[in-house]
Amino acid sequence: MKSEKLKGNLDMLLLAVLAAGPGHGYSIITRLRERSDGAFDLPEGTVYPALHRLEAAGLLDSSWEVVAGRKRRMYRLTAAGQESLAEEARQWRAFTGSIAMVLGG
C-alpha cells in the first residue's frame, strides 16, 4: 500500500494495535506488519512521532519497563484512546462502505 495513504491513517492503526495490549515501538510496528500480512510496511521510525503525538493528546500512556534486559517505553491505550479508536473505526467503516457502493462492489 502506498505509504502516503498509510500515513494518513497511522494514528488509527496504532490505536488498533495497542487495543490488543500494550507494546513498545518495535513490537507495535511488528504487530502492525503481521496483522496486515505485510501490506503495511512503513519506515519503522515513523511510529515514534505518531506515538508521542498520541500520548501528548492523551490517547496513550507510557511507562518505562525492563523487557528482555533492556529498558523500553511501553505504550498502552487510555480510556480516551479507546473512545477515539471506536469513533475512528466507525467513521472508517462508513467511509469504506460508501466507497464500495460507488465502485459497485
Binding site: G25, Y26, R31, P49, A68, K71
Partner: protein, 285 residues
C-alpha cells in the same frame, strides 16, 4: 514480541561479553539522531533510548535471519528510516546539522543583541560626557577647509542655538551619534527578543549540540573585552594626541563594552555553575 536474537543466543552472548552487537552504523545513526532531535533534554534522552532499543531488536532479528553483523546493522538502519522519519519533521532543519545551526543562530542573536544594546548605551554615555566636558570631547570637529559654507549653513539650520559653524557641526555630529547609537540599541533589543523566542521554542542546551555550555557567553565576553581594550586605547590616544577631542566617544564605547563583558561573564559563571550542579544525564541503555 519474542526477541529471536536472544533465543538463538548470538546477540545475547556478545552482550554478555560486553560487546555491543549493534555496531558502528547504528552508533552513527544514533549520533545523527541526537544532533537532530529537539525538545527538552528529557524528551531527547527518552526518544534516543527508544530508538536505540528498537535498533538493537532489529539487528538481533536480522542476525537471527542469517545476515552477517554488518548486513544486519545496515538492514536495521534501513528499516527504521531516516532521522527525519523518527523526528517527524520534513523541513530543512531536519538535517543532522540542525542543532548546530540553531545554536549558531542563538549565539549570534545573543552576542549581536548584547553588542548592539551596548552601542545604544554608549550613545547615552556619550551624551553625558558631552554635557560634562563639552561636545568636542566626544566628537572632534572636521579640520578647517574640509567642509564648505553649504555644510555650515546646513549645520546651523539644524542647530539654531549654535553660535558658530564649529559648534553647530559638533552639535550635528552629536545628534548623529545619538541617533545611530539609539537605533543600534533598538535593533539590539529586537535581536535579544528573537533570542528569547528562539530559546523558548527550541529548548536547546549546549550539552545537546556540538558547542559546549557557555560557548556563546565566552565568545561574547571575549569580543566585548577586545572592543573595550581597543576603544580605550583609541580614546587614550585621542586624549594624548588630539588633546581630548573625540576621546569621549571612544571612552563611552569602552565603558559600554566593559558592561557587556561583565554581563557575559556573569552568564558564563551561571551556565558553568548550573552544569556542575546538574550534569548531563546519560542516555538510558
Amino acid at each position: 514480541m519474542r526477541f529471536i536474537g536472544w533465543r538463538f543466543g548470538s546477540g545475547a552472548s556478545e552482550v554478555h561479553r560486553g560487546v555491543d552487537p549493534a555496531g558502528a552504523p547504528v552508533e552513527e545513526y544514533l549520533d545523527r539522531l541526537l544532533l537532530t532531535l529537539s525538545g527538552s533534554p528529557r524528551q531527547v534522552r527518552h526518544t534516543l533510548a527508544e530508538v536505540e532499543a528498537h535498533l538493537h531488536d532489529a539487528v538481533a532479528e536480522e542476525t537471527a535471519a542469517g545476515k552477517s553483523r554488518p548486513e544486519a546493522e545496515a538492514a536495521a538502519v534501513a528499516r527504521i528510516g531516516s532521522v527525519c522519519d523518527v523526528t517527524g519533521r520534513r523541513s530543512a532543519f531536519g538535517r543532522p546539522m540542525a542543532a548546530l545551526l540553531r545554536r549558531t543562530a542563538l549565539a549570534g542573536s545573543l552576542i549581536g543583541g548584547v553588542g548592539l544594546v551596548a552601542v545604544g548605551v554608549s550613545g547615552a554615555i556619550a551624551r553625558a560626557l558631552a554635557a560634562m566636558r563639552g561636545g568636542s570631547f566626544v566628537t572632534a570637529p572636521f579640520p578647517p577647509g574640509s567642509y564648505t559654507r553649504a555644510d555650515c549653513a546646513r549645520w546651523l539650520a539644524g542647530n539654531p542655538a549654535a553660535h558658530n559653524c564649529v559648534t553647530a557641526m559638533i552639535a550635528d555630529h552629536l545628534g548623529d551619534i545619538a541617533l545611530q547609537s539609539y537605533a543600534a540599541g533598538i535593533v539590539g533589543l529586537l535581536a535579544l527578543t528573537a533570542y528569547w523566542i528562539m530559546r523558548r521554542r527550541w529548548h536547546d542546551r549546549g550539552t545537546l549540540t556540538a558547542l559546549p555550555v557557555g560557548s556563546a557567553e565566552a565568545a561574547g565576553g571575549l569580543l566585548a573585552l577586545l572592543v573595550a581594550i581597543g576603544t580605550l586605547g583609541t580614546g587614550i590616544n585621542a586624549e594624548l594626541v588630539q588633546r581630548g577631542q573625540g576621546a569621549g566617544q571612544q571612552f563611552s564605547l569602552a565603558l559600554a563594552a566593559v558592561a557587556a563583558a561583565m554581563f557575559f561573564a556573569i552568564r558564563l559563571y551561571g551556565a558553568v555553575r548550573s552544569r556542575r550542579v546538574d550534569p548531563v544525564p546519560h542516555v538510558a541503555s
